[in-house]
Assembly symmetry: C2
């Protein structure tokens, strides 16, 4: 009998320190699960082809929209609908799990110094 | 300015008590996020068309495979590949987040007393 290993978010989070640079930890069909460490404000952007899920693993973050905002505490999450301009931000270090289809670029259609390599695994 | 609400797993988990009966809490594209409370052993089944993600929110669970097993503790997760027969189980009450495409039946191709209504929201 074989013993398979679960995926441990906490251990994976120890393996990198870059901010705003999503690291893929698993795939399901054509979707990827990515860990991201964030602090400060990201760039305004949208994803025209897909919704995007944010789950806060530790800390807290906000997402600005053109008409409002959402605050997301540890253990909570939010689904950003496709095509909606948004700007993630966090006052202090916040660790987030993002779920989206393979191939999504973190800054969407907005080119930026914060545009991160796509499909970086940890 | 509008204030949007995050989704709070903990509050949603207080809204039902049935075991092995997945409750949808959100959708992303054609995928659903479902909370499930489990205890005891489920039926052997598989899903031929899709992988299935289990994230343990509290407690611990195991998934038996025909050739082995995986133990999943709180905060850990596992991706069951499509077509692989599996049997989730938990000695004590365990609260799980399952991610899979809309329309997936909890017992897969195996009809059982544990087959739950599909697309039940909480």
């Amino acid at each position: 009998m074989q013993s398979y290993s679960s995926i441990k978010f906490k251990e994976k989070l120890l393996l990198f320190n870059e901010l705003w640079s999503p690291k893929v930890v698993a795939e399901m069909n054509d979707y990827q699960f990515k860990l991201v460490k964030i602090m400060g404000a990201f760039v305004w952007h949208d994803h025209n082809d897909t919704d995007e899920v944010f789950i806060v693993l530790s800390g807290e973050m906000s997402i600005d929209f053109r008409d409002g905002l959402v605050n997301i505490q540890e253990g909570e999450w939010f689904v950003v609908p496709r095509g909606i301009e948004h700007r993630p931000r966090a006052d202090k270090l916040c660790q987030v799990l993002v779920i989206e289809p393979r191939g999504v670029i973190n800054t969407g259609d907005t080119k930026s110094a914060l545009t991160a390599p796509e499909n970086a695994w940890v």
